[in-house]
């Protein structure tokens, strides 16, 4: 069943930074939320999470950097138990093993605190944390920008593979159309607090209609090489 969030809006210091928007997300769909910095895409992501959570949908969030997701004074095991408690689910070692295997972090020491894990592993732990309750929607905010490219690409591939077998929809927030184009089925282009384009990825890439989408398309890769 398609999830709909309407009336998404936000103001900061009396100024509207996100105008009335709505999002429809089908089960297992992958949506890219793209735009320049300051276009309101992260704000829309946050509004989406809050609205869906209030409506009783399962929704999880992976912030840009693990520093924004983990408490440096608490062990990984503590984070895990806490997330399980927040979902009111009993401890389930099988689910943990499954997710850790899928994201290749089974070797990490859960008794350690975040900073003794590598950043790539921290980020994948945060993703695993988000997937505990098999959410309807997983919102990822610039998942690659805090990581080295090799680690980032590996993480995205592992996540792709894992999500392929589930109904969890992915909302990928990024300024990088090149990244989004490789990972999502549908693109929503944002500009100055508004969704200005919402179409299948191939269609946006082939014939962008808005100025923002045209600019993103024109600058989506550094180099195009013949096959």
């Amino acid at each position: 069943m398609t999830i709909t969030a309407t009336g998404l809006t936000a103001t900061r210091a009396g100024r509207t930074i996100l105008y009335q928007s709505e999002m429809r997300i089908a089960p297992g769909e992958r949506v890219g939320l793209v735009g320049a910095s300051g276009s309101g895409k992260s704000t829309l992501g946050h509004a989406l999470i809050d609205t869906l959570r209030a409506a009783g949908h399962g929704v999880a969030h992976v912030p840009q950097s693990p520093d924004e997701a983990l408490d440096p004074l608490r062990s990984m095991a503590f984070h895990w138990r806490e997330a399980e408690r927040a979902l009111r689910s009993p401890p389930c070692p099988a689910r943990q093993q499954e997710l850790f295997a899928a994201l290749r972090i089974a070797g990490g020491d859960l008794c350690k605190r975040p900073w003794s894990w590598s950043r790539g592993m921290q980020q994948r732990f945060v993703i695993a944390l988000a997937l505990i309750g098999t959410p309807d929607v997983l919102v990822m905010d610039e998942p690659t920008s805090a990581l080295d490219p090799v680690v980032a690409a590996g993480t995205m591939d592992l996540l792709d593979r894992h999500l392929a077998h589930s109904d969890t929809a992915l909302v990928l927030i990024t300024h990088d159309l090149g990244l989004a184009a490789r990972r999502v089925d549908r693109l929503m282009v944002m500009d100055a607090g508004r969704i200005v384009e919402d179409a299948p990825t191939a269609q946006v890439l082939a014939s962008p209609t808005s100025g923002a989408a045209r600019s993103l398309c024109a600058h989506r890769n550094w180099l195009e090489l013949p096959c």
Partner: protein, 241 residues
């Protein structure tokens, strides 16, 4: 010509740079790519004489690099400026301190090349966008017409569109001014698109140095291939039919 010969830098017992040798000819661009912790930033610090070099030597045209007054463009544009000063003061102060006379027409030309409105310079770093701040950072680096400019992740704080725009401005200015550019970056796409040569640094050692055009089609090492494949997987590089 910048010449880095067998340079080793230690921090405690660890070797951050291990027998690194690189050259960069005047007017050319060398990109140094690698993961965090590979020693990229240490290389810049070593060239600027900010860390002690345990072995080897670094020269520009046979003399210590310091003598050619190299410039540096930093990663975090806003943090690179004193937040209490206008951008104009931040740009001018080092020059005035060195007794340079600033040619107004040179400033105007540079600002035009970097698409900086002159009144933007009267604002403070927090009152401009990150992209604008970084262009002023480049202005500050280029204003004394240095023969060598070091770029430490110059684009990583910017969004994808601004990155490509700024990269183009840098390249155009380089063609006019003829400075040698050493760009440290983790973005292989940027390196492939704008550098003449790509040097891959891993765990303090140079893995390979390859012309950029050849690197994207045929990296010389397995690790180079891993980096290139990641750039494709993240959409920085694209194959088209």
């Amino acid at each position: 010509m910048l010449s880095v010969e067998n340079v080793t830098v230690r921090r405690g017992r660890a070797q951050v740079l291990n027998d690194v040798s690189l050259t960069l000819a005047p007017g050319k661009t060398l990109a140094v790519v690698g993961e965090s912790g590979a020693g990229k930033s240490t290389l810049i610090a070593a060239i600027l004489d900010l860390v002690r070099v345990a072995a080897g030597q670094i020269t520009w045209a046979g003399a210590p690099v310091r003598r050619c007054s190299p410039a540096l463009v930093m990663q975090e544009p806003r943090r690179a400026f004193n937040p209490h000063l206008s951008l104009r003061r931040s740009v001018m102060e080092p020059l005035e301190a060195q007794g340079h006379v600033i040619d107004t027409s040179h400033l105007t030309t540079l600002c035009a090349g970097l698409e900086i409105a002159l009144d933007l310079l009267d604002r403070r770093p927090t009152e401009v966008s990150i992209g604008q701040a970084q262009r002023v950072g480049i202005l500050r680096a280029l204003i004394a017409a240095p023969p060598l400019v070091l770029f430490d992740e110059p684009l990583s704080a910017l969004d994808a569109v601004t990155q490509k725009h700024t990269a183009r401005l840098i390249a155009d200015l380089q063609r006019e001014a003829g400075f040698a550019a050493l760009i440290v970056t983790h973005d292989l796409g940027y390196a492939a698109a704008y550098a003449d040569d790509i040097a891959v640094l891993r765990a303090g050692q140079v893995q390979e140095r390859t012309p950029a055009a050849r690197f994207v089609t045929a990296p010389q090492t397995d690790y180079g291939r891993t980096l290139r494949d990641a750039a494709f997987a993240l959409g920085a590089l694209e194959r088209v039919a």
